[in-house]
């Protein structure tokens, strides 16, 4: 079966997906409660979409298509409020964060669905270690070639999103010293990483995808776990490197930062992306995962080293007119706060650990922060 045709959509439209953790209220370990929660949510209309994920302790929500920060944020808040109310009725806590700080992966139950069971059979412990929680942002593209252009033009900005969203410093009960330990789990999958370099959709779908398909390794785009992947049936590209932030405000901020960035890139004032840009890609990505905003990245064009924080603050200035045009200045403020003095959520979680001295205290604080 060939790759389906790219369904064009309106440029710069946004959709946000969040994977959230379900916790039991007494010791804040992950709780296998997705089916109970979905059953209760199914009784009344949900302000968005809600679906089960791989494990019973995870739930995924998605917004509808948006063009502006205000409506996007208000829908995310509605979703959050509806979830919190339902969870309260069932004595479940719900929280953001890229990993659960102390869950033991072998205790996670894989959701009872054929695809999940099949993945679990294929990937073994990787499937359970994949109990990590990400934010995915879709950006609408007017054409398939525009999608590939954006996908590759964004390569140099991927560390920004990793560092800004990072909220998974703890894993299996210890501080990993990474700001985003979650991405380490994602990298373990054979088809993770970056998309092959081509700016032509016909080459991508007729040559690359057809070859891959003939190897029997993949059946659809779903089998690729790339950092950014095209989604032909939506007519979007999907950024997948973000940890789920601890608040919906940060989630909306990240989405609109991406939107403004895409608007800037579509003006094509920057040099075209090329395959050599990826020489520094994995190094930059590692720096962002490990050190967050304090990491150092190499600009693939100029080959100069710059702190990720500085690069974000600089980019924010460049994006100012785009944010104005897109009505998303509030989102830029949110991003500036994170990049500037208050730091990302990994920093926030480490501060909570210093206060409470326990990883349970960290989860408690994360669950409380989502409600605010």
């Amino acid at each position: 079966m060939a790759l389906e045709t790219f369904k064009a959509s309106e440029s710069l439209t946004l959709g946000v997906e969040l994977e959230l953790q379900l916790l039991n209220a007494y010791d804040l370990d992950l709780s296998s409660s997705a089916s109970d929660l979905l059953e209760l949510l199914g009784r009344s209309p949900f302000p968005g979409m809600v679906t089960p994920e791989m494990t019973q302790s995870m739930i995924e929500v998605a917004t509808s298509v948006h063009t502006r920060h205000g409506p996007l944020l208000s829908q995310l808040r509605n979703i959050r409020d509806t979830l919190v109310t339902a969870c309260d009725r069932l004595n479940i806590e719900i929280a953001g964060g890229g990993t659960h700080p102390f869950q033991r992966w072998f205790e996670q139950r894989i959701f009872q669905r054929p695809r999940f069971q099949q993945l679990s059979g294929l990937y073994g412990y990787l499937a359970k270690q994949f109990t990590v929680f990400g934010q995915h942002v879709h950006v609408g593209c007017a054409s398939a070639d525009e999608a590939l252009y954006l996908l590759h033009a964004l390569n140099r900005y991927v560390p920004h999103f990793i560092a800004l969203s990072a909220s998974s410093p703890y894993s299996q009960g210890v501080d990993t010293l990474f700001d985003s330990a979650r991405l380490n789990s994602v990298f373990a999958f054979p088809l993770s990483g970056r998309a092959p370099f081509t700016l032509s959709w016909s080459e991508f779908s007729e040559v690359y995808f057809t070859k891959m398909e003939s190897t029997g390794v993949v059946e659809s785009m779903k089998d690729f776990y790339w950092d950014i992947r095209p989604k032909p049936e939506f007519g979007t590209i999907e950024l997948r490197v973000c940890d789920t932030p601890l608040t919906v405000e940060r989630a909306a901020g990240l989405a609109c930062y991406l939107q403004a960035l895409c608007r800037h890139l579509l003006q094509r004032t920057e040099p075209l992306p090329e395959d050599d840009d990826y020489l520094v890609y994995t190094y930059n990505r590692f720096q962002a995962c490990r050190f967050g905003l304090d990491g150092t990245m190499v600009n693939p064009k100029t080959r100069e080293q710059i702190s990720i924080r500085e690069d974000i603050l600089h980019t924010l200035r460049v994006l100012q007119p785009h944010a104005q045009a897109l009505d998303s200045l509030a989102a830029m403020d949110e991003i500036e706060r994170a990049a500037g003095h208050s730091g990302n959520h990994a920093t926030w979680l480490r501060e909570r650990f210093a206060e409470s001295g326990t990883v349970q205290g960290v989860v408690r604080a994360a669950a409380d922060l989502l409600r605010v």
Binding site: D27, L28, S33, D88, N91, F102, G357, Q360, G361, R364
Partner: protein, 401 residues
Amino acid sequence: MPLPAELSYLLQTIAWPLVLLLAWVLADFLHAHWHIPRVSSYVAIGMFAGAVDLPGLTDDITGLPFVANVALALVLFELGYRINLRWFRNNPWVLVAGVAESVLTFAAVFGVISWLVPDMRLHVHLAVAALAMASSPAGVLRVVHETRSSGQVTERVMHLTAINCLLSVLVLQLVTGSRTLRVSGDWMQAVFASLHVLGTSLVVGMLLGFVVPKLLKGRLAAAPDGATVVFALSVLLLTTAAYGLKLSPLLAALTFGVVARERRVHLTNAQRNFGTAGDLLGVFLFVYVASVLEWRDVLPGLQLGVVLVLVRMSSKVLVNLTLAQVSGITPFKGAMTGLALTPMSAFVVLLVSQTGAVGFDLAEQTLAAITGMVLVLELLGPLVTQRALMAAREAQVTQEA
């Protein structure tokens, strides 16, 4: 043929450790091969040991009831620790379900036993009905741990068990209080005795719940396992104090757990069940409680027991099924919640023996009347809970890698 004196002495000395070891090995074997809940096997061995009346097993060793009370107090502390009072505010239907299933069980059991055994004294009828409300916290918790289950049935079984145990203690106290009144005619004594037991137990539990977290403040990060030791020792202290003051150690331990949780002391999940010490005391608790059941009461009480079991199960299932939808779960999960509440054992037996310690013949008659029911429910209750959790798909299906 009487045993030679030396052999009898030897048996007497090693009877307990031997029986406990046997119980553990058998339970492990049956669990591995047929997924029989371990506690059912412990109970079976205890009953067997009680039936053959091994020398040195029951009355000869003083202090065993105390150890059993400590073991159960630890369980009740843990149950209390799992109770989220805020849930009752967020979803009052859970509280309603807990009270309703207790009240209906009380009424139904009282009605049936009054009708079937009219020649029994009213106070015994009332006491049996009060005891029938309570699910076994130890049985339920052990099965939940063993299956590592989580979900709505699990959550609700915990909370409803805490409610029905609490109500059972209260009503039983009222029954013994009114009995004091009948015997002595002294209002003051009756009222004071009841208030003392209930009120002081609550206060002792609350006091510890406030003080212990303060003691631990700042120490948790340095020694997370230390917290478990401190809590276990506090429960020991509380049980001892309750014995001295003739209070209810069970009520005090439950209160201690609830308050400690509200103070947000975080015990890590590695310490669930108080680890190895908790396992050890658990084996003892189930074997001991089963071994004190009098076999001469079993056969005449068995028929009544089976009837009461059915009445009790039906009322618990009926209420939870009826309130399932409105409380936010499917009718199926509601029914499973009702079934999972089936176990009844240690809590009830120890509760009755404490009533006996206060000095009434009521205890002996009541224990005789419920022996049949307890026998059935001790043995089969955990199995019902386990199957209910499995049917609700809340038990872990994956094996540890």
